[in-house]
Every structure is written in C-alpha cells, then in structure tokens.
C-alpha cells in the first residue's frame, strides 16, 4: 500500500435547509485502501456519500479526488473522473433488465468494456443467469449485487458503497463482503459506509466514526475494533 492520498475531504459542511447534517468533517483515503465510515442512523453517512457524488451540494469545505476539486462539478461529471457509487437502497432501474442496468453503468464509456462485464458476471454469476430479467423482480440481495455490479461498469478507480449489507440475510452479508474484498484486490479503492461495524472493520484498513455530523473517532481497523467506544456503541459489548 502506498501513501499517496487519492481522495480527501476537508472541513465539509452540508445542510438540508437550516438543518446541518455535516458539521465540518475531514477524511482521507489512500490509493488501494478500503476505508469505512461507521455511524448510527442519521449520523450523516449517506449525506457524505451523496455530497461526494455531487447529488448534494456542499455548504463549505472541499472534496478532492486526485487533486481535482469535486464540489464545483455537476453530478454527471463525477463518474467520468473515476468515482462511482452504489447508493443506499440500491436504486436499480426496476423496469429495465439486469443487462440494461449494467449497460447504463457503463454510460460514460464510449464503448462498454466487455472485460469488465465478464468480471462483473464472474463476481456475481446470479446476474448473468438473470440478465434478461427486470431488475425490479430480483430479490433484495440480487438487487444489491446488481447495484454494485452496475457501479463497477464505468471502470472506476474509487468505489463508494453505501450500506451494501442493508436488509440482507447474514449469509448474504458475508458473501457481499467477500465480493467487496475481491473488488479491492483488483486494485480499486473502496469507501464503504456500514452499520455492520464488525464486518466492515474486519474488511477495511481504516475507519472513521461519524456522530451527528462530526467525526467522533478514527483509526486503523485494529484500533477501532479494540476501542471501548466502538465496542459499546456497535459491537454490543458492555464495558
């Protein structure tokens, strides 16, 4: 793992009207890392992810990817730079087929990368079996696979995953985390938002804990796993 910072958020503030959702957070992700953002419901994790993809506009602060400022760009330009997101709640295109969803994932490419499609189908064989099926008729787990697969189709350098384990059975959660590991092994940098702190920290190199719009804690996964605060708040252990 090298030390070059690929992605950096500085003093980011985001509000919904008069409600401040992010009150000045800073974090960085180095090339090849898996970094996780943990936090309770309403902590601001999804807000962070949506602001990175410019679906929400920052009130102040900066978001830099490979030195380029993202906050001034329109949302559709972010993918092209190499930052792709699998959003919270999957947001697959329900009345389009699995294949059409994947093709839309490659929208910014002048030609779809056949190798990437092959890899996505390798990663999630279920998607290949169901490629002609409407995405809305897939099971929740399959939709999650599709959302992740779709976000890979643009050959991103950095992948944003917002709660990929949401609503999945424990066995599927394990499978999804293994697949994220495989994606990272391919050289992608991953920023992972999770409620499932233990599993996320086992997978990630480092983590940040968000608490009502502020970074409450950060460190390597080992440090965080050992931290009493984390144990209390997320791992269900009383100290």
């Amino acid at each position: 793992m090298s030390n070059d910072v690929l992605f950096e958020i500085k003093d980011l503030e985001v509000s919904y009207g008069s409600i401040a959702a992010l009150k000045g957070i800073s974090l960085e992700v180095r090339k090849g890392e898996i970094v996780t953002i943990l936090g309770a419901n309403g902590a601001g994790k999804t807000t962070t992810m949506r602001t990175i993809s410019q679906l929400l506009k920052a009130k102040s602060g900066s978001i830099k990817f490979k030195g380029q400022e993202l906050t001034q760009l329109p949302a559709h330009k972010i993918v092209k730079l190499g930052v792709s997101q699998s959003p919270e709640g999957r947001k697959v295109f329900g009345i389009l087929t699995v294949e059409e969803n994947l093709m839309l994932g490659a929208f910014v490419k002048t030609r779809m990368n056949k190798e990437t499609l092959k890899w996505v189908y390798q990663l999630f064989p279920r998607l290949e079996e169901r490629r002609k099926q409407l995405a809305g008729t897939l099971s929740g787990g399959e939709q999650q696979m599709l959302a992740i697969g779709r976000s890979l189709m643009s050959d991103p350098e950095m992948l944003l995953l917002d709660e990929p384990s949401l609503g999945l059975a424990p066995i599927l959660v394990k499978a999804i985390f293994e697949q994220i590991k495989m994606i990272a092994n391919k050289g992608l940098t991953v920023l992972l938002v999770e409620q499932n702190a233990k599993a996320a920290l086992k997978l990630a190199d480092r983590g940040y804990v968000l608490d009502v719009g502020k970074i409450a804690l950060s460190g390597t996964s080992t440090e965080l796993l050992a931290s009493e605060k984390i144990q209390e708040a997320y791992l269900g252990k009383k100290s």
């Binding site: 993809s53 410019q54 679906l55 329109p74 949302a75 559709h76 330009k77 972010i78 993918v79 092209k80 792709s84 997101q85 959003p87 709640g89 947001k91 697959v92 295109f93 329900g94 009345i95 389009l96 059409e100 093709m103 839309l104 994932g105 929208f107 910014v108 409407l134 809305g136 008729t137 897939l138 929740g140 939709q143 779709r150 976000s151 643009s154």
Partner: protein, 298 residues
C-alpha cells in the same frame, strides 16, 4: 360496411395526429412528472409558424422540396420554443412543489395562446394546400392523399422514436432519467441534457402534428391547441401516461373511437363519449392500458 371502412380511415388519420401530440405529453411527464399544459398550444403555434414559413420564406411554393422544408423549419422553430419553455417556465421550478409547476404550465399555455393571437390575429386562418387534393374512391370509401401521408409519416416517426428510445445509448439515458433522476446522475447521465432532448423531440413531433392539423382540417385558430391538446392528453392517459408505446396506442384508439362515434352516433356526442371511454378505462386500469409494467420492489 362502407361506413365502417370510411371511419376506420378517418380514425387512423386523426389517431395519428393525437398520437404524435400525445408523445410530447407523455415523454415530458415520464421524465419530469409534469403535465406540460402548454404543449397543445405549441402544436397550434406550429400550424401558424408553418403558414408563415410558407408565405414568407418559401414564397408560396408547394414543390415537394418546399413542403419538406416547411416541415423541418417548423419543427426546428418549435423545438427552440420548447427548449425556451423548459428553461424559462419549468427549470426554475424543478425543486418547487408540483403545484407551482402546474401553475407555470397553465401560464405558459395562456402566454403562447395569446402570443399566437397577437401575431396572427384572432380570426380563423386558412392553412395552405401544401399537398394536392388527390382522392381515391375504393368501393365508396374515399381516402385522400393527405390521409395516407399523415398515417405513413406518423407511423414512420413513431417507429423511429421507439427504436431511438429502446435501442440507443441516449434512449437508455432517457429511460433511466424517467425512472430515477439521481440514479441516472450516478451513471454519469446529464439529466438536464436529457430533459432538453425530451422537449426537442416532443415539440418537434407536436409541430408535425400541428402541421397535419392544418393540412387535414385547413382552418386554424389561435385557441385550437386547447382542444387538440386535451384530446392528445386524454390519449396519453388512456395509454398510460409516461409510457411511449402507450401514447401511440392511446392516440390511435381515441382517433378510431371518435371516428366511429361520429360515424355511427353523431359527432356532437364525440366529446361526451370520449370522457365516458376515459372513465371506463381508468376504472378497469387506473394506470392506463400500458402503464406500469411491473411493480417496483423497494
């Protein structure tokens, strides 16, 4: 039998026009969840624009080239008006409550209607005879060249639109934007561009519809957009608003239905029966004939 065939021909003609106009309503609704009430008036404006192009630009020529040029120029003018309409009346209200956009749409409708009246006057104008009055009498069923052209051109345009939306990259972008704009943005789709494109396509098809109205009915009035717009809007709802093949089907169906009512009952009853049809279909299928292919899982 003669009446049946005659009304079939007439119904397909007006159905083609309804379908072309209905596509504008349905495509805008599909992506923006907005009823563009000004669309009918844009259709009316197109007929007047066509009239002016004929007299001022084409020097009243009716050669094949001149006729084609009139269609292209009128469509281009209306496409520009469509883009301006979106920029001025709808884009500033994208994030506003839906009711504001509806009010803006009604305002735009009135403005265009009054604009037509200011420019071309309140009296009925006669659309030029761009296409020769050729008729065929097939065993008592009279079909005109204009009818054949309207049907053939409409079907061609609709097939082209269908293929564009289903088979091309931009078409996929349109469908994705219609389903979920934020998800579309995450794919790198420029939704503003998609919306502009929708207005260009919808306004151009509506423009062709407006020229057809001029060619077929000859008399054009500044406020005729209200009536044709309403029929086309009903056609879009019949087919399932937001659904492109639905608008085509709904338009054809409504045209045939009105023609048969006119043929077998009376044309004065066409409106009443149109609304009865609308109510009946909405009772049986609240989302229209082709609306909502599947329920989306959350």
């Amino acid at each position: 039998m003669d009446i049946f065939l005659q009304q079939l021909a007439n119904g397909l003609t007006i159905g083609s026009i309804f379908a072309l106009v209905a596509l504008g309503y349905t495509m805008v609704y599909g992506v923006m969840k907005l009823i563009n009430f000004a669309h009918g008036d844009m259709v009316a404006a197109s007929a007047f624009v066509g009239l002016t192009i004929y007299t001022q630009v084409m020097g009243q020529a009716t050669s094949l080239f001149a006729v084609i040029a009139i269609f292209f120029l009128a469509a281009a003018v209306m496409a520009c008006v469509g883009i301006m309409l979106e920029r001025l009346a709808y884009r500033p209200l994208r994030e506003a409550p839906r009711l504001s956009a509806v009010v803006s749409a009604l305002g735009a409708s009135l403005m265009i209607q009054n604009g037509i009246m200011l420019i071309w006057g309140p009296q009925m104008r006669i659309f030029p005879e761009l296409i020769p009055q050729v008729y065929w009498d097939i065993n008592g069923v009279v079909i005109s060249l204009i009818q054949v052209i309207i049907l053939a051109l409409s079907v061609t345009l609709m097939i082209a639109l269908y293929l564009f939306v289903e088979k091309t990259r931009m078409g996929a972008a349109i469908r994705a934007s219609a389903i979920d704009q934020d998800a579309a943005r995450l794919m790198g789709i420029n939704v503003n561009k998609v919306i502009a494109l929708i207005f260009i396509i919808g306004s151009s098809l509506g423009a062709v519809g407006g020229l057809f109205i001029g060619l077929y009915y000859r008399g054009i009035t500044f406020n005729m957009g209200w009536q044709y717009g309403l029929y086309a809007f009903i056609a879009a709802i019949l087919g399932g608003i937001g659904n492109i093949p639905g608008a085509m089907l709904g338009g054809m169906m409504l045209g045939l239905f009105q023609a048969f009512i006119a043929g077998y009952v009376s044309s004065t009853w066409a409106d009443a029966f149109t609304f009865i049809l609308l109510i009946l279909i909405l009772i049986v299928r609240p989302t229209g004939l082709l609306g909502e292919r599947v329920a989306e899982k959350v």
